[in-house]
């Protein structure tokens, strides 16, 4: 169970379909609360485009890592293996790459070689398409959903893993923030296509959604608005998974 904190300028925000962002609070406070509730990992994504935000995010990571003892995944604006090193030094265990890996796939290989593939997470933002060559499939979008790439999500996932990604953070842009449930077809397709763990993201709205995503093949589930707005606690979500027969770690 992974709460995700989208951060801009040192504040947690959350929108719907990547837009209409609203303030959700202080990242370190939220991370501490989630860790106490039993979060198995916490993800920070810097969704601000401004380069100066990166230092702010690393400071948030540093402060969180000094008081929260669960795994931290950090991403947003990672463009080089040196950026990745800075995130790891600040206290990240895993680092996600997204747009920069699409622009230059060799980044995945460079990061994997330098730090081990287990800490390289390929974040893929996927959007269902109903026209053109990918009709009926999913297309990779980058720049926080602002730019289409024409790249097939499954092909990219396979290629990314071949290059050096050790995990895939798979976000459905269509479902992001809607609480309408994960895109289960997308999850099944990608988990069947790669050997590495896939984290499902985008659309969590009820305990049943977590059960469905894990049943569809996801290794872990990520959620944001649901937890930020206290519609559900992490313990509630874990109880639902345990009741469905999946192994969960009891709250720390």
């Amino acid at each position: 169970m992974i709460p995700c904190l989208d951060v801009i300028g040192g504040r947690v925000v959350k929108g719907v379909n990547f837009i209409d962002l609203r303030d959700e609070g202080d990242p370190v406070e939220l991370a501490s609360r989630y860790a106490a509730e039993g979060a198995d990992e916490i993800t920070f994504l810097d969704i601000g485009a401004a380069p100066e935000d990166r230092g702010t995010l690393l400071e948030v990571v540093r402060r969180t890592a000094s008081q929260v003892f669960v795994p931290l995944t950090v991403g947003g604006g990672i463009r080089s293996s040196d950026d990745m090193k800075a995130a790891l030094r600040a206290g990240a265990d895993k680092v996600t790459v997204n747009t920069a890996a699409v622009r230059d796939p060799s980044l995945l290989a460079a990061c994997g070689r330098r730090f081990g593939r287990q800490c390289v997470v390929l974040a893929i933002d996927a959007r269902r398409v109903s026209t053109g060559p990918l009709d009926g499939g999913w297309e990779v979008v980058v720049m926080g959903g602002r730019e289409r790439t024409g790249i097939d999500v499954v092909e990219w996932a396979r290629h990314g893993v071949d290059l050096g990604a050790g995990e895939i953070l798979l976000t459905s842009m269509d479902r992001d923030g809607t609480q309408a449930g994960y895109d289960l077809d997308l999850i099944s397709l990608v988990t069947e296509s790669v050997e590495v763990p896939v984290i499902a993201s985008g659309g969590a709205g009820s305990p049943a959604d977590f059960v469905a995503a894990i049943s569809a093949g996801a290794e872990a589930v990520l959620a944001a608005s649901l937890f930020h707005r206290e519609q559900m606690t992490i313990a509630d979500a874990k109880t639902a998974l345990a009741a469905a027969g999946f192994p969960v770690r009891s709250a720390a």
């Binding site: 890592a65 000094s66 003892f69 790891l88 030094r89 081990g116 009891s250």
Partner: protein
């Protein structure tokens, strides 16, 4: 108060491990200085990433002999544990060789890397008071020559060695600094071990 030195070989997150040890009552220093490490009451060798990178950092910092000749308790974490062995199949990298054996890629597991929370079966003093559930991020695990050094197993469809102890060298494949209260307790157990040794000598 026992001084525990966290070895800084240039890779990995030293923030959480230092805070975790400090919470356990140790005086914590982060250092890559051989003299500081040689006079510590206990040494933690962290390691995230690739074996060759971690070993390269140790050699570049001139720490190889220091780490091989320590008499105080040493705790290797993840790749920091893997480099205690003779060599790793990852990159064909050689290790410090203080525990005989090799590090091999896991086989027969559902997905690799193995990322997540799993149970550690064992009764070593390091595990006392924990709920035995720890966080793992790895694709490789140790295969010690001497089965007596194995103090913890984990079942991830394939059963692998997740904790070792050989003389004053201890190692865990999981990340205590990422394993919530169980991990903090393990670090506290290690600090107690260091304190006992320093009283005894």
């Amino acid at each position: 108060m026992t001084t525990v030195v966290v070895v800084d070989h240039g890779a990995g997150n030293l923030v959480s491990i230092s805070q975790g040890l400090a919470a356990s009552g140790a005086r914590v220093e982060i250092s890559s200085d051989p003299a500081t490490i040689a006079t510590a009451g206990g040494v933690v060798l962290p390691g995230v990433g690739a074996t060759a990178t971690v070993m390269g950092g140790i050699i570049d910092s001139g720490l190889e002999e220091t780490l091989q000749s320590l008499q105080v308790p040493v705790l290797g974490i993840c790749v920091g544990m893997q480099v205690l062995f003779d060599r790793s199949e990852e990159d064909g990298a050689r290790g410090l060789g203080v525990i005989p054996g090799v590090v091999r890629r896991l086989e027969g597991t559902p997905r690799l890397p193995h990322i997540g929370w799993n149970d550690v079966d064992g009764s070593h003093p390091l595990l006392i008071g924990t709920d035995h559930t720890f966080y793992f991020v790895h694709s490789y695990a140790p295969f010690p020559d001497d089965p007596d050094v194995i103090v913890g197993f984990t079942d991830y469809e394939d059963v692998f060695v997740s904790a070792v102890a050989s003389g004053n060298y201890y190692g865990v494949q999981f990340h205590p600094e990422r394993s919530g209260s169980a991990g903090l307790r393990l670090l506290a157990n290690f600090v107690s071990l260091c304190a006992e040794v320093s009283i005894a000598t």
